[in-house]
Amino acid sequence: MFCRPKRGSATRHLFVGNCGPAVGLTESQVQQYFECTGAEGVTIPVPAAGSSSHVFVTYRSIAEAKAVLEALSAKPPAELGNRKLVVKYADVKADQHADEATTRHVNRDAALCNIPGLDLLQDFVSPAEEQDLLREVKAGPWETLARRRVQHFGYKFEYVSRNVDTGKPIQPLPPLAQQIACRLEELLGVAFDQLTVNEYEPGVGLSAHVDTHSAFTGPIVSLSLAGPCVMEFRRGAEQRALFLPPRSLLVMADEARYAWHHYIPHRRSDPLDGEAVPRAASRVSFTFRKVRGYPCECKWPGSCDSQGGGMPPTRMALAAQDTSPGIASSRSGIEPSADQTAAVVDPPADNQQRACSDSEPSVSVGKGFPQRKLETLSLADGGPSHEQQHAKARSGISARDGQSPEHSEQSSPASYVLSHEQHARRSEDQPMHGSSAGIQHGEQSSSAGQQMESRYVHGVYDIIAGHFSATRFAIWPKVREFIDNLPLSGLVADVGCGNGKYFGVRPDLAVLGSDRSPNLAETAARRLQTSYGSRQPLPRCDVAVADGLHLPYCSGVLDGVLCIAVLHHISTVERRVAMLVELARVLRYGGRAIVTVWASEQEQPGKLAKWEPIGPGSQSGGGDYFVPWHVPFHRVEAAAAAAKVRSGEAPLPQSSAPTGDSDARPASHSLPASADVVDGKAPASSAEAEHMRGKENALEGSGHKSEVSSEAPQSDKGSSPGLASEVTSGRSDVSEVFLDGQVDEVKRTVVFKRYYHLYDKGELEGLVEQVPGVRLVSSFFDKSNWCAVFEKV
């Protein structure tokens, strides 16, 4: 059996793709060709022999295999029809295990690993201390994970978010462990304040990871007790192994801590000096860390969550959001602030929608789209409508009109269909007919709306983009269902795509994502390029910065449009209709759009009361609200706000905020120098003012300077210019938005207000009715959202 080799390693076996019976090459043809290249054997995979599009070829040596790989990659062989072959190394499964057990080199000395910052101190504790430490934690209470048991001290490590809540200290380190921590402080100059005790049974390991940068600062050290193990380190294609004997102390600092993945293979014995050393009945590790509570500014942004890199969401986090409605909906009742470090919730938009009721009367999105051929033929049958012809006549897109429409009358049926589509598309590069009245009117009255959105939607999302993106990954089932019904290899726009979480749902689709926030668009773009873990690169998706009211696409080209949790950020009726008209414009005939918005019928009781109403609203609670978004202090987005405040650049909050909000949350204070701007509700007394300053100092204290002092042995500072300054500079509207950023000391967050319009029953459908040329296919309420699917007719 063949398999992929260890990353980057060359073998004497080659995988050759785009080659085999499935692509029209006969077995003997393939066999003969590779025998001529000196192959020892050619294997055509058995289960799919007749339909295989790849083969495996084995050579006598790695050098031979390498030579052939290079030759084939350079030039497709004429003997195989000049096909461009995909050639990679392969390995034999049995071989690989043998290799690993016997030949893989495991170092006993950390220096031989040649990883900057990695160290191993032998016999850091005595056998007596070892026994005492084990006894101290033996009774627990243990928290049971999937395969091992853990205990936390100082701060609880949340596995879902891979972070700690710095606002919530838990039980202190037990006495003996604290003594070790003191010893470590003398040695390393770091006051470790978080301890995780792990107990591993034989066969149990630790998955590869880099400890979350924003969660911990300085080195991370781990004391191995009771039994040994081999720890593996990986960075890109590089790999090292280090034997950790009992009572040794592993120190990971600098590059070793910030850039290298470390893991313990799940196996029962470890290879060492050519032999297999069985694991002990149990191995207990004491891992000491220092919590950070502010963004990381290391020089390894690729693995740094504070700088937009790092690991994708955990499976636990995905599972909690994706598959368990119970958890999801109970979560969704919590304000983002209350559940801050769990890196989840933007209340209803996503999570609340999860548990969708199958009994919903009008849930169905409808049948799949008509086959494209049928659809275009019917168009061809009837010929272009009057409006189309009219529109075509007006259409000034001469570059396109230059192509003769008669082109369609010649040649095969296929090209006949093609050109009719092109025809339809050309004919429409004009705003939708008939819609002008409302829109024109809107143009005049929408400037206030634009201001509201610019400040309380675009500006805010631009600032919180990184944090927002890190919490957005659940695929809502109703949207998935809509996407599943789109035609094969269809062309789809995702308007307001955020971090692009819907891009990969169907890899055959080409998705044109757009977002009004440049920073959010960038988070989506980054996703396109990285393949991390199970995430594949998405070669058919793209992102643009664009306004949903002025989409940059040609008319009539798209099979589908997603507009998920976007329309509720649009602040006037005219602009809402204008956006729907714009969505319809880019759809082809028969193309469908799905639009979802937050409902005034929030299923979580008391939720509306937590939001800040703007204006009178409707009887059922619909209308305009400010909804808070909390950014934890440890996020770089919060640091940007705090830095702005400290430097005094941010103007006063009261001067231009449209509504007073100081009574909304007693625990929060307006940002800048609000202590000095007395308005009865802001902190007025000098004591409170002092308190405010103290808080700002606290923020400052968590900044760069203290990192310097607490990371004496480190050298990773002074490296990056700091994302914070990057975020604040270069965007003219940022300082304005900081008016509305507030420090919430209790939750240790900076709070940003976002504008929302909550929709009453029927309101969304009413908007769709105002869009000419579309038919409402279905509309439904699902978990605190109103949703509509419409089709262009």
């Binding site: 785009n18 029809g81 000049n82 096909r83 461009k84 000034g396 897109i397 001469s398 570059a399 396109r400 192509q403 040649s411 095969s412 296929a414 090209s415 269909v417 093609l418 589509e421 092109q422 598309r425 590069d429 094969l488 290899s489 062309l491 055959d508 080409a510 044109l512 757009s514 009004r516 440049p518 668009a521 960038e522 773009a525 396109l528 390029q529 690169p537 070669p539 058919r540 793209d542 992102v543 643009a544 910065v545 664009a546 306004d547 009211l549 002025h550 989409l551 940059p552 696409y553 040609c554 080209v557 798209l558």
Partner: protein, 123 residues
């Protein structure tokens, strides 16, 4: 930005008649491997403005797209399909600008993302 996307974009500045296609002013072009899937190419072809793709591909360094595409080329011409695939999905405009053919307005492309926001006086 891929040329597939470019093919779907047009300039929507108010009053612009000839907003298609954007001219590409490349500063940095990257290539990304994409899985070759001739079926996708056959599906997407009808949606494309071929002359616009061909012109853009030339600017981006893929000069091998033919002026005319026939049904049989789409079905069997492997070499053509490879070039088509490469032009459509594997050439990425990483830095540069999209230029409106009528007004000359430049829309910057940064880190692979075109910024197509319009100014207030353009809508």
């Amino acid at each position: 930005m891929k040329l597939l996307t470019h093919n779907m974009l047009s300039c929507h500045i108010k009053g612009v008649k000839n907003g298609y296609p954007f001219k590409i002013d490349p500063v940095k072009i990257e290539e990304m491997d994409a899985d070759y899937d001739p079926d996708f190419l056959r599906h997407i072809y009808p949606r494309l403005e071929w002359p616009a793709l061909r012109e853009a591909a030339q600017v981006m360094g893929e000069p091998n797209l033919p002026e005319e595409v026939t049904e049989s080329m789409l079905q069997n011409d492997e070499e053509f399909l490879r070039h088509f695939h490469h032009a459509l999905l594997e050439l990425i405009l990483e830095e540069g600008a999209l230029v409106c053919p009528e007004t000359g307005r430049r829309f910057p492309v940064h880190k692979g993302v075109p910024n197509l926001l319009l100014h207030e006086d353009e809508v």
